[in-house]
Symmetry: C2
């Protein structure tokens, strides 16, 4: 397994200068908003990564959070008095993903022993637990049990393919296409509604699960404010079109049946800052501390003039996102052929891709709104109880996408 | 994967009448000792299975614990007043095992959705989390965070092969043998010391992790009071001897080198009731509610007169316990050959085995001693902090045995 540094996978820093949106200073800024316990004695701090995948990056994020919050508690305790107990808090970190995530692999990466020693590299300073959830749009934790939620590159995955998108009797039918990028207005509206509904459920659940002074730190793909739902950015259009055309070749040649093509859609939606803000406002439980769109550097490839290298990198990147979904849909052999065609298309477009492959990301930090909290809590409880009783509508397709996409986090666009 | 009922795997009920030691009434008895929260409002109850393995039995135990405690809280709340919140507690269940346990398989068995609905078979009534621990002889949970611990068929596995047992310069050297059964007095004493040391660490850690009114329900292999450390019962002697002789054949034939034989030992120790009681008394944090030895029924095999069936069952049973350890030590092909020889030996001894294969089990329930608790807590903290800082001495061999043995829980002696 390729070891990738967090800055490579999350920030994609490159030749365009500073574009690191998750610099230590920003993580610390939101973590500093967590109100620490004021009573004397031992303290338990808890954090959870939603969509943890099974790579090293997750552990780096966990270490950063645990280290910062432990230091903060220690220094605040020393300010108050010589409170030795408070200076030695316990930390529990929950790693959440779909049950199809490869937790076995993750557990082998996780340092086995919890130790109290500060980052000596040989252990971990937290108790660890894995939470296999059907979806983070449902409840995953007991009430008021978490101090810090973090989620990176997961929230743009919808809980399911939006209603009507795969139904040829619907106005939202996404004929011949698999992405919302470049789709019809009706398809775009269906994706947008699904995002709003999913975010509403996500925020409701988290508002119940956060401790009263808890915070969330979220990163997901996003699109510029002026772009409509079906304009998810030049890079998404390019990648989506190359994939769709490559698949279209095989449909024309009779390798893939048309009905099989029509039933395949990718439930990814890159929201705008305004759409995310709207979801937070409608929910009413959170205040926004930070909300911004960051455009990453261009494609990281050893030799940008090497068309074959660019083609391979782009095809691998898209396969790392969609591969398992495509495999499950058309079988491994046909999927191989699709990505061979896609690689050739990417080679042909190499120059454009090197320049255009920039991913806008939304970076958001939220904390519970204390004034709104009591009202929101009661309302959320009623809503979410109903939602749990009804069960999830997470589809068989949607049920796997988070896992599949999360694999990409490990490799990023430099995967060979 | 073969689906086995809990009573088959845990109780091995058979033709000898009632021998079910983990009947619902007994589980309930110990669960009734948990003091439930008295304050109004929402309640969170927590339980943990230490050595959960990856089979259905674990889920049956979890359901039984969650159902009983939820009912208890509901009825006690209704007694007090119409406290609707208390009548709807939340439950978090932690499934713990070594990181080498197949958690992926387990997560696929786990119902995906947490629901509030009572046992309708389609969901679970608890939030679930997995805890991959280096060993339950170390800390796994934050302080005072668990209401109920349960552990079945794990505590007789030691954290490591006892010191000296694999060292030909030591008096405890277990020459030509792999088990403590039938070994020398010095080897027996080394195993006993290791058991005492492991139990001391286990109890210290659990005393810190249990809530003040929490309980533990433990089941492990045991031996009769009058038997010395090297007399772990007729069935263990039989199985051990058959395994050792089969391996000895291959050493004689030159298939296995003698040095490879000498470095292989199985760190299992079946304690007496007195040895377990002694460990509890030395620790001082717990009071014993129940402690008894239960002798199970004889070997479950479809046709006890079919020597081939008996031979296969016994060889499979021992392989389900030791197989992965043996594979790792001598390779799969040689391991296959050892178990072929063992099957033949078991066929020859079929009549005796059918009658003798009874496994004495210790059943134990403990609750925190409230009077002792504060003193013990402080002492434990000092001790356990030291132990965590030093790290575990869990050996490469010992590090896998819990996992390997736990597989046996899924199959029991009826595995074909």
């Amino acid at each position: 397994m390729q070891k990738v540094l967090m800055k490579d996978a999350l920030c994609m820093e490159g030749g365009q200068g500073e574009s690191s949106y998750i610099k230590n200073s920003q993580v610390q800024e939101i973590l500093d908003k967590v109100q620490l316990p004021r009573r004397p004695g031992k303290h338990l701090l808890t954090a959870a990564d939603l969509g943890c995948s099974c790579g090293h990056n997750t552990l780096i994020v966990a270490d950063a959070i645990v280290e910062h919050m432990t230091s903060k508690l220690r220094s605040s305790s020393f300010e108050d008095q010589d409170d030795g107990d408070a200076a030695d808090p316990e930390f529990c970190f929950y790693f959440c993903d779909l049950p199809s995530n490869d937790f076995n692999t993750f557990f082998h990466l996780l340092p086995q022993h919890a130790t109290a020693a500060a980052g000596n590299g040989s252990g971990r300073r937290y108790f660890a637990a894995a939470v296999p959830g059907s979806s983070f749009h449902n409840r995953l934790f007991p009430r008021q049990s978490i101090d810090v939620f973090t989620s990176t590159f997961s929230l743009h995955w919808l809980s399911q393919v939006p209603e009507g998108v795969a139904d040829n009797r619907s106005a939202a039918y996404n004929k011949d296409k698999v992405f919302v990028h470049g789709a019809s207005q009706a398809t775009g509206a269906a994706y947008r509604r699904q995002f709003q509904s999913d975010m509403a459920r996500f925020l409701r659940c988290r508002a119940m699960e956060l401790k009263p002074e808890g915070v969330m730190f979220l990163v997901c793909l996003g699109r510029p404010s002026q772009a409509g739902p079906t304009n998810q950015g030049r890079v998404q259009l390019l990648c989506g079109a190359m994939f769709e055309e490559s698949r279209g070749d095989l449909v024309e040649e009779g390798t893939i049946g048309r009905e099989m093509m029509d039933s395949f859609n990718v439930p990814v939606y890159d929201p705008t800052l305004e759409e995310l803000r709207e979801a937070v406002d409608v929910d009413g439980s959170f205040q926004i501390n930070r909300l911004e769109l960051v455009i990453t550097s261009s494609l990281a490839v050893d030799d940008p003039k090497d068309r074959r290298a660019v083609g391979r990198t782009v095809a691998n990147y898209v396969r790392s996102l969609l591969g398992p979904l495509v495999d499950a849909h058309v079988g491994r052999a046909v999927a191989d052929e699709i990505f061979v065609r896609m690689r050739r298309r990417a080679e042909a477009l190499a120059e454009e891709l090197v320049d255009e492959m920039r991913f806008p990301h939304i970076v958001c930090s939220l904390s519970l709104d204390r004034v709104m909290k009591i009202r929101a809590y009661r309302l959320c409880y009623m809503r979410t109880t109903g939602c749990i009783l009804r069960g999830s509508t997470f589809s068989a397709l949607g049920g796997n996408v988070l896992f599949h996409y999360e694999r990409a986090k490990m490799f990023g666009p430099t995967m060979q």
